[in-house]
Amino acid sequence: MTGLLIKNFVRSKGLMTGLLLLFLSGLISLNVGKHFLEKNQQLIQQTAHFQQENIDRNVKYVNKEIGLLLYYVRFGLANHTPNLAGLSIGQRDINPAVLSVTIRNLEEQKYTTDLMNPMYQLIGNLDFSFVLIYFFPLIIIAFCFNLISEEKEEGTWSLVLSQAISPLKMLRLKLCIRYVSVLTVLLLLLVIAKFYLAIPVDNAFVAFGLTAILYISFWFSVSWLIVSFHRDSSYNALLLLIVWVMLTIVIPASVTTVIVYKYPVPEAFGTVLESRDGYHSKWDQPKEPTIQKFQKHYPQFNRYKHPEGKDYSWLWYYAMQQMGDDEAAVHATDLKTKLRKREAASSVIGLFVPTIHTQQICNHLSQSDMANHLNFIEEVEKFHEQKRLYFYPKIFTDFAIADENWKAFPLAYFQDKVSVNWSLVLIPVFSICVICVVWAGVNFRRPLERNARYE
């Protein structure tokens, strides 16, 4: 029976075209991912190259005072992009992959965005996670909406019922064939992605694959549930399409709007004003309090003094710069807290909405979510601090530029760690699948023969 059901399935042109289109759009998405990774790689190489060039040139021309030199010199930290991000670009196309900072105040530097065409952000990337979240369900719906009703509408159902010992078994087989065919396309795409994008097979990739499989299982469960109500084809199609529109457009878009409304971030503007005033106003104030505040922050630099009667010193200058960061610190922390709150709110909502959950897990696993960017920013803060602490004593003692090894500052990398929380990855969508299947089971307890609806 299985063989003949497969034959019948394979011979319907529409369904095969659907699978082929799905596969093709998957391939396009992999190409988009490849393009993204290459561009990213290129960007990092360029930055590494320009950074060395920038250091060499500045060392050559600004060769008198190390304090002045460090006004210009930029040190870059790159956010390592795992190749898995080619499958789920997420926030990676909005947030910069590299931040190059001087040791001056960080607040003015860390929110720098990359150049991008906003039209592209509006339309969104055609990455694999998009194909997974939007296109796979459509094909699944097209495969399943008339699982029973096509037999009724084509007239084969009564013969099936009069012949079959268990018509439900046949329906299950039909569903399985469709499931396996879609699963095959999915796995094939993942295998191609593994080699084409050179993705290492690690926990993250396995979890990514499982998330994808669970997501398509979810849509099969929903379709199975809808089919179990024994309505006609157009009713099923309408209902499934409504579910699709709700889950992929209306609910996530509303959630976004609600989150923006619920957690506005005026702190973002606050940081700009505070850091600007924190630094610039010090020019017009007596030098002593600024230096005192600086030395309170860094007691280890207590022994350095501003030269009496001098109009200017690098100690004073960098102390002023430091104040830019210190005075914006409250706002900056508030901003980060707000952003983490936004992230947390959407994760909680995601537990109940498979599309949101899947997108977030995909972004999390491929390190393209907001959490990764916030981690990166925190690393930039550490990196910046470490550079400061390294150079401050040298600046205050007017260390000879020629004595420093300027080759020792290549582009640095930040490698975020992804911890796979298996229960969070698997349980929410799995539970929804189980609910759908059990509900459908209850509907199917009523003998199929009784739902034949004749006369």
């Binding site: 399409l241 609600v258 936004r342 959407s346 977030q360």
Partner: protein, 482 residues
């Protein structure tokens, strides 16, 4: 085409559609969603306006309250410009969330416009935002297709079509009548949101400065009406052309997916590959290299500035810059600012040209995609498109340049040429000069610019509606009665 027949046919479609319980549900749900979308959009807008107003005032206050100081320090203290939202932006969010909101303006440097909503968002934003624009452009057509897919094919299937045609109704009358009926059903969703939006528009305090938004809204309404008419006509036309209702529905859903999801994404990929745009590192490095080649205003031995110095010394007949009757440092800085701003502008223009080319690939698809046409038109009229944003960038840069140069002028005029440093008594000027420098005010582009920007979209909507109309009236022989 007889008007009375159109009226009978469209009234029949309207009544039979509206009678269904599912229709009432859909209309109810859509009105709720639209109401939610415009009200929450309006609240987000007013919250943002308040935030922007509050911080703009703070910026101005701190600027004016700055103590007496050297003007060049004031130029570095700089200004922060915030992007205002157009009063209509609650209707269609467009690119609002993807473009920056605040930019720090200072001498010598062009900073990026930061804090776009997208950069403060998690990955959810890529699902889109629920705005009236999104619902009307994307979801309403789907519903119209559902109401309209069997308007003619069902009549063919149950045989009533032949009776209709034998009663002397022509094909164009039949299609137009059904289309108008379908269109009038869609108005039950469109009209309420227009009314609510108008009320919200009037209750916004910012409307006083932007009366043009009322005119924009009127054009926007016309645009959407044409769009809904196109969608209705398309639904009925496909229904008339298809053999079965099922194939009509499949075709229409196919159209919808292709136009709203697939085509925009594909055109984006094509645009990206045809016109690669530089990254920030590349862009900054290119600007930096060119500036280095031109000369460094901070380096007194730089060849460019040496020529400048020599010609000045000669013109004034002195042998040292200290003997010039004005502040030489300020003069050099003004020259440097001019050079760097021009260079930056040139590179920025090149970058924007690349973006425009990329966008034009997407924009061009509007010719065959009414969805893209209304999307672009709606964004432009709601003040949430790229042109409006770019206009803000230009205004901010112009203000920055003016600020830097005004400070340089003050230095040239008021600071003694022999003064060293920037904190001594002679090096500072009175703070009254700060208040004399006007505040930054972001104003919105005039309609003619919007029109020029979106003439392709307007053209495309006209082409679609007239094309479909001619198709219906001319190809009536090709329709099948059974």
């Amino acid at each position: 085409m007889r008007f009375s027949v159109l009226k009978i046919l469209s009234r029949q479609v309207y009544r039979s559609t509206i009678k269904k319980r599912s229709t009432l549900w859909l209309i109810g749900i859509f009105n709720l969603m639209l109401g939610f979308a415009v009200v929450s959009g309006y609240q987000i807008l007013t919250t943002q306006q308040q935030i922007v107003d509050k911080y703009s005032q703070q910026v101005r206050h701190r600027w004016e309250k700055s103590p007496d100081k050297h003007p060049h320090r004031m130029a570095h203290y700089g200004y922060v410009a915030f992007r205002q939202k157009f009063p209509l932006s609650f209707f269609d969010f467009g690119m609002n969330s993807y473009v920056g909101n605040a930019v720090f303006l200072e001498a010598h440097r062009q900073n990026t416009v930061n804090f776009s909503e997208a950069s403060l968002s998690n990955g959810l934003l890529r699902f889109g935002e629920i705005s009236a624009g999104l619902i009307l452009q994307l979801l309403l057509p789907l519903v119209i297709f559902f109401w309209g897919f069997d308007l003619i094919s069902a009549e063919r299937e149950n045989g009533t079509l032949r009776i209709l045609l034998t009663q002397g109704i022509s094909w164009p009358e039949l299609i137009m009548g059904k289309c108008l009926g379908l269109f009038s059903v869609s108005l039950t969703i469109f009209v309420p949101v227009v009314v609510i939006s108008l009320i919200l528009l009037f209750s916004n305090g910012a409307i006083g400065d932007n009366w043009q938004s009322l005119g924009y809204f009127a054009i926007l309404i016309v645009g959407y009406l044409v769009y809904l008419l196109i969608v209705s006509l398309l639904a009925v036309f496909v229904s008339a052309k298809s053999n079965t209702s099922k194939s009509a529905l499949t075709k229409l859903i196919g159209f919808w997916l292709f136009f709203t999801l697939i085509l925009p994404k594909i055109s984006l990929v094509i645009g990206q590959n045809l016109y690669p745009s530089p990254s920030k590192v590349e862009f900054d490095t290119a600007v930096e290299h060119e500036l280095l080649a031109q000369g460094d205003s901070h380096n007194p031995n730089d060849p460019h500035f040496k020529v400048l110095k020599d010609s000045l010394l000669q013109a004034y007949g002195v042998d040292s810059t200290h003997k010039l009757p004005f502040n030489y440092g300020g003069y050099v800085m003004r020259e440097g600012e001019r050079l760097s701003a021009e260079t930056y502008k040139r590179h920025q223009a090149k970058l924007v040209a690349i973006y425009q080319k990329q966008q034009n690939v997407v924009r061009l698809t509007a010719l065959c995609n009414p969805f893209m046409a209304i999307k672009n038109l709606s964004m432009a009229l709601s003040g949430t498109d790229y042109a409006t944003y770019h206009d803000f960038e230009n205004q901010a840069e112009a203000y920055r340049y003016k600020l830097a140069q005004t400070m340089n002028e003050l230095q040239i005029k008021l600071i003694s040429n022999t003064t060293k440093g920037s904190s001594g008594k002679q090096a500072i000027i009175n703070r009254k000069h700060w208040a004399e420098f006007p505040d930054f005010s972001h104003h919105f582009p005039a309609f003619i610019l919007v029109f020029q920007q979106e003439k392709l979209a307007i053209f495309s909507l006209i082409i679609w509606i007239s094309g479909l109309y001619f198709l219906v009236t001319l190809s009536s022989k090709h329709f099948k009665a059974f």
